[in-house]
Symmetry: C2
Subunit: 218 residues, 2 copies
DNA sequence: TCATTTTGATTGACAGTTCAATCAGAATTC
DNA sequence: GAATTCTGATTGAACTGTCAATCAAAATGA
């Protein structure tokens, strides 16, 4: 709220471009979801967080439903783009790709308490509302098939024999579960310790290529 | 709803004992959470599901908050009692104990779609409300320290060398993550396949004692 | 009878939505 | 370059529906 007021007052600009204002409201929605949870996220609270009026949220997003689904798409796409670019930047070898893939989930830009908490709010409601599946199932399926393909390559190219589908599932749910630990504020460990947990899991399945510190050798 | 109506009509009993009526309302709350999610769980919907009037819910639980926290405690205690009795029934050897512990999470009595979905609703709101922590943190800490102790025994008694705390964390979050997969109805796999995933994870950490089918030998 | 349980109408608060009025900045005109 | 018009972003009050909570009356069982 204070930043938004500062912005509009100090710059003397009461009007922002459509895109900038919508981005500001999406940020405010993420913050509100993180602070109050899905059930107690109201249009009024989002507007107050952004330092703007109640009616403006409806002007830009028409309905609460659209505000929330837009926010979800924003988070989902940001996440997909993050791990996609991590894969592109990494060497093409399967171990390097897996290391980059797993590390991307704990990137400081993605893995913030606020964003994790907002994700958690959506997951809780996702089961019973079509919204989540409509907007995220494509990204989720893409994520799953990518890690499955990488695990298959570890078998084909590096002589491992574990079931690729099940191994990929373990790596995926470990990451999800660590996110859940990180977002519940009572848990007393941080991103680096979560990543260490991922590495010992990768080391358990691929002991010739991973160790407690991550990828072995160079 | 239909069962509840049948019960009260066919038996000719409009009055049930306090405990029985409260248990019925808790069941209806679980069903409503599973069907509609936390945000859309209303007193009226719970009452309708139970085939009773909504005034009665307030008579027995005073507030919505108390109804929900009582339901949460019910689920949490049922879960703890389930894995505790599984441990007591199993042989005292560490591998047997771990096998029983992991299998207990997928017991058909605990691991129903309805109950998993209700858990998911609570998790989504848990971050922002003290309710969850107040009522479940003791059970959760107990669960965590139990699996940590078992992993430590695998090291001490059976010559494994992995970090017990981190290994226990992997086993815990894999179970949680598989629950999440099972409760999202789009996922096309069942309890037995989830359990198979747990076994290959256990086999990765403890290859001399676990295989794809679970505990090795007898 | 008397206590307990159950009902359903009522109340008050609150949240989402709508809308008419306002206002700042851009475009246009002279 | 100044005055005017236009655009669309912004506000806040009013409307509407919903939900939790209350309560008086009815039903039930001992």
């Amino acid at each position: 709220m204070s930043e938004a007021e500062q912005e509009s007052r100090s710059e003397g600009r009461r009007k922002l471009s459509r895109g900038a204002r919508q981005a500001q409201l999406i940020e405010a929605t993420i913050a509100t979801l993180a602070r109050h949870g899905y059930a107690r996220t109201t249009m009024g609270e989002v507007a107050r967080t952004a330092g703007l009026s109640h009616g403006l949220v409806n002007f830009h997003f028409e309905t609460k439903e659209k505000l929330l689904s837009t926010t979800l798409v924003y988070l989902s796409d940001e996440y997909r783009e993050s791990w996609q670019s991590a894969l592109e930047a990494a060497p093409p070898d399967a171990p390097d790709q897996i290391a980059a893939f797993l590390r991307a989930d704990f990137d400081p830009k993605i893995c913030t308490p606020e964003k994790l908490s907002a994700w958690g709010s959506f997951w809780g409601e996702a089961q019973t509302r079509p919204m989540y599946q409509e907007h995220c199932s494509a990204n989720d399926l893409y994520y799953t098939s990518t890690i499955e393909a990488l695990c298959q390559r570890m078998n084909d190219e590096h002589g491992y024999t574990s079931d690729a589908i099940l191994t990929a599932r373990v790596l995926r749910v470990v990451t999800e579960g660590l996110w859940r630990d990180l977002m519940s504020m009572t848990e007393p460990y941080e991103r680096d310790e979560a990543l260490a947990t991922v590495w010992i899991c990768a080391a358990a399945f691929y002991p010739r290529h991973f160790g407690p510190e991550g990828l072995l050798r160079a």
